[in-house]
Symmetry: C2
Subunit: 318 residues, 2 copies
């Protein structure tokens, strides 16, 4: 089925990485490109850390800590222990093995390599055959405006404060200067389908499509552009999507997500636990979208692809 089709997936971290894992099991690696949010990236102890890229990488390399969904399996925290001995209060979970990734990335970054080149070197090093691309080579930073603490850097909000402050706005620092990389452009133009993973629409997908030119580029592709719901039965499987929707005074429903994506997509996969809904000009289908095992990741990837590429029994979108 998918042997001669080019598939592009847009994702953030943990949730999206699960669908990436499923797709990587069924799409030939030379035909799969995963475009990853980098607006969560930050500097920490002098290291350039890209949490979403790392999560996708470790997941596809079969190296992820499956209990967390992020970090390296079997990793230790000796460096962080020593930081505490130095009187530091480390709040970001840097595993010792994980640090190798950040060191190689930071060194290459300081030498002037692009994040695309760096990611290529890291993914190849971990034996990943498909292509993982940062959304842009420019540094972009999500800044979360909160009621309680004002503006916070993303990881400060997300990890240090465990997304507990009340969000009242978001901005993307550096986004005006960002550009779509030639690699991302080529992948999108060659795509036979573009899939948006079940990632946070506001925190993970919006930064990607906010890169100047990205939304237009995606919408110009006359292919199935299918999002997989991050909301199941009125809540998020993981993370702050539902909480944020409430704080933005949005109804926590699948429909809200579809309306948010608007013309970016022409197809939507919602969960069979949710009721059907009506929106003009969009095709949709319900699957079991909860990916709590490798088998279910592969099964969902299969179903989404089949439907997107128009070969399934469902409501065809091409």
């Amino acid at each position: 089925l998918t042997l001669n089709k080019q598939v592009v997936l847009l994702v953030g971290g943990v949730g999206g990485a699960k669908l990436a894992y499923g797709l990587a099991k069924i799409v030939p690696p030379e035909r799969l490109t995963i475009i990853v949010n980098t607006a969560d990236d930050f500097w920490h102890y002098g290291l350039r850390i890209c949490p979403d890229l790392d999560t996708v990488m470790y997941t596809l390399a079969n190296r992820v800590n499956t209990a967390n969904g992020w970090g390296v399996d079997g990793d230790t925290r000796a460096m962080l222990e020593m930081m505490r001995d130095y009187g530091e209060d480390p709040w970001f979970g840097l595993g010792d093995k994980d640090i190798a990734t950040h060191l190689l990335r930071t060194q290459a970054w300081q030498e002037g390599q692009t994040l695309t080149q760096i990611t290529q070197r890291l993914t190849k090093g971990l034996g990943i055959a498909c292509t993982i691309l940062p959304m842009t080579d420019a540094p972009v930073a999500t800044i979360v405006d909160t009621v309680e603490q004002g503006e916070l850097g993303f990881q400060d909000y997300f990890v240090r404060h465990r997304w507990q402050p009340t969000l009242r706005g978001l901005r993307l620092d550096g986004i005006e200067a960002a550009t779509v990389s030639p690699e991302v452009e080529a992948a999108l133009k060659a795509a036979d389908t573009i899939i948006i993973g079940p990632s946070n629409p506001w925190l993970s997908i919006n930064p990607i499509v906010s890169v100047p030119g990205m939304r237009e580029l995606i919408e110009a592709q006359n292919v199935a552009r299918v999002a997989v719901t991050p909301i199941v039965a009125g809540t998020a499987i993981k993370g702050p999507a539902a909480k944020i929707m409430g704080e933005l005074r949005l109804e926590v429903t699948v429909k809200t997500v579809v309306e948010y994506y608007a013309t970016l997509i022409n197809g939507f996969v919602y969960d069979e636990r949710d009721e059907d809904f009506h929106i003009d000009s969009i095709r949709k289908i319900a699957f079991d979208t909860i990916m709590d095992s490798d088998e279910k990741r592969i099964l969902l990837a299969h179903r989404v692809l089949d439907w997107a590429l128009g070969t399934s029994e469902g409501d065809r979108i091409r």
Copy 2:
């Protein structure tokens, strides 16, 4: 005895750190300053690593791996394992805890702090009460000219090639631009005695006294300036001192070391295993200089200090 005397010690890494440890046990911390060779420092995986400063720090903090004489006690190597998974061939022993030191240093370095300030922050963090100073704040790099491989960076020569290539020359890259820091100058001017540890004269002590102005500053101090022998019974306790002396066509004797230091010192402690020797204008004394236990480190520190400060029964030098 030493309660009202200012003591300055010049050292490189492991051997010198043992005498530093002994001195730190008997000299009040506010009266002890240790000036450390930084010409071994280098960049590795984007980290600024100062092997001699780290060895002295870990030793004085009671955190050193006593089997090696360097590195952090009980450290692990998970980061290096992951580097190997990335296809790297890491040849420098970076422990996971050790990395915390390099991260804090590198981050502060990138922020523009001086190595003196950074070392202050690290030593205080590890609970070290005496003062440890880098020989200079400028980056200086020992380059070893070898018969087999031409010029090698110091760690490349020392660690990667285990000091096996034949040395035919040494130069100190960056030394012309280096200056004596105000902290080093103040410590030397206040010193009641200046002790040169049993470190490698060519690789560890020469860089320190090659900082422009350093030798003159030391020699201008009208106090006991006492070196402790790095050569015992015609060889080095540890490291390449004897091998290098042979390669430089020098006799591997205590006398060669004394002649090399020349006017830098006015007193010399040789080992009781060696025969007495004659050199004009220098006082000398023989002790057991092998510091293979904490007790022997403290005992040697005591004897050297007593002799240097002129209170012992030996051949007084003031």
